[in-house]
Symmetry: C2
Subunit: 301 residues, 2 copies
């Protein structure tokens, strides 16, 4: 199971019962929280997402609609008796803000809170089953996007060939991991002679607040699904640029340039009550677009 559940899809001021940005990515048993606008903890309850399973929180930037809910979530986790570690990746100044809020309340969290300041593009976490990367996007203040990748599954054994090369059964697990077989006497059996690649790992890119910039497409090239902000419709393209935001068509253009399979758009301006026009405009450029709707889970296929 690899998917993303939207908890908030609105920009800046909450409106029309839409909440500020937050999403949860589920990758098998792991939950990743991407941004954490105000009331994210209430949204997690409403949509029955188990906060105890969130081990990674990634914060794109320090505009309030992307992180004001974080301190409430953390302190609630503490009140609920969490003991296992929580990792936060965010712009550096957030650490002092969180600590100040814990200090004035004389709170000592019952779990280890590991704060990692985002500093350069690249891999943040490389675990057996997944990895997390960050990349810079282009907003008014320091702002980051993230890619969550499921690791490429082990290679499949081509049984006919493996038998032909007399590879012993005990070595099959190592073959799956890509190792060559070196018999005591004789020539090395190259891994690719006796295995075939498995399905490539899927990936999800989160492009938080950003002006339209084709470099974003280069950074998320080939991911399976991307979320890209779409704050305005096409007729407000100048306002979007002035405020370092994108339009729906621009988000779709990034998706097309990046050669991805599925696009999600969100971060809708409070100006708009109806969201259908965002979908229509984006689909004119990238047909496989969906609106990021609160409470809905989108499977990454």
């Amino acid at each position: 199971m690899f998917g993303v559940t939207i908890l908030g899809n609105n920009s800046a001021i909450p409106a029309y019962d839409r909440h500020p940005t937050a999403q949860v990515v589920t990758l098998n048993e792991q939950l990743f929280l991407l941004d954490c606008g105000e009331a994210t903890q209430m949204q997690l309850s409403r949509y029955k997402v188990r906060r105890s399973r969130i081990n990674y929180i990634l914060i794109s930037h320090l505009h309030g609609d992307h992180y004001f809910g974080l301190i409430g979530l953390i302190t609630s986790m503490g009140l609920l008796g969490r003991e296992h570690p929580l990792h936060i990746y965010a712009p550096a100044p957030l650490q002092g803000i969180l600590q100040a809020q814990l200090d004035v309340a004389a709170i000592v969290l019952p779990f280890p809170l590991h704060f990692h300041a985002l500093q350069q593009e690249g891999v943040l976490v490389a675990e057996d089953k997944f990895s997390i990367e960050c990349f810079a996007v282009y907003h008014r203040i320091e702002c980051w996007g993230f890619i969550i990748r499921e690791n490429r599954k082990p290679r499949k054994i081509n049984k006919e060939q493996a038998l032909a090369y007399n590879i012993p059964g005990y070595f099959y697990e190592r073959l799956k991991n890509g190792d060559d077989y070196e018999p005591r006497n004789g020539e090395t059996v190259k891994n690719e002679w006796v295995t075939i690649p498995n399905t490539p790992g899927r990936s999800y890119a989160y492009c938080a607040d950003t002006i339209f910039n084709p470099e974003v497409a280069a950074k998320i090239k080939g991911v399976t699904m991307a979320y890209h902000e779409a704050t305005y419709l096409d007729n407000l393209i100048e306002r979007a640029a002035n405020r370092f935001h994108s339009t729906s068509k621009q988000a779709a253009t990034i998706a097309r340039l990046a050669g991805i399979k599925q696009l999600l758009i969100g971060h809708f301006s409070s100006k708009y009550e109806a969201l259908e026009p965002f979908l229509t405009e984006a689909q004119s450029i990238f047909p496989n677009t969906q609106l990021a709707l609160e409470g809905v889970s989108y499977r990454i296929l």
Copy 2:
């Protein structure tokens, strides 16, 4: 019109769709926000309270369930173009926390934000039509209660007597304000000879998180309506004391000792789904008790 609208009535962790503490007191055209837990700005929208009319925000203490919604409310007020001043009364360390959050987002608010650190008991604001006082309550960290009083209305003129003393019509307004009349020739006419007192001003006391302490009753003596926290039921009286909270019966005892007319109870623990037992227990000691229910406005009579 003098009343209070409940926006959040739960303690600590939000539960059963109950929100952390926040209430709005309406006194004619003035709105006063008492505490501001997470998602208060959403609750203000939900219950159609006009945030532009809030000019005073009073924060009792720096546990997150009483102030995590403040920064979001303030920044939204800015985005909505507020220009008139906002006054915040709160424990001193909050100022640095708010400023740090504005700084990292490079936000300059378009309205004057006046932060007043709470330092000693007494009158905070004395305006023509109302006054605000603060008093210390007894919690784990620095914590304050507040009293909002409508000013005693002007005195009523006893027309028969005013005519008998030959008081000219132009002086009637000054009579209402309590002035004596001093004719050019002759003896001073004492105000109380020609006027009668009006109804006394009503008042609302807000007793935020506190352990049971009869001194609180002394501090709110004779107010019209009080809100007192009631985190637990009577069977958890020891837990209440250990955590510097009160039970429902203790809140009712304070109301009886203080000789008030109406009691509101709230700040219910997330342990409890049903709230009726809080009412039953409190009414056994102070019959004119009501549960503080979200979205409900209680008139101060």
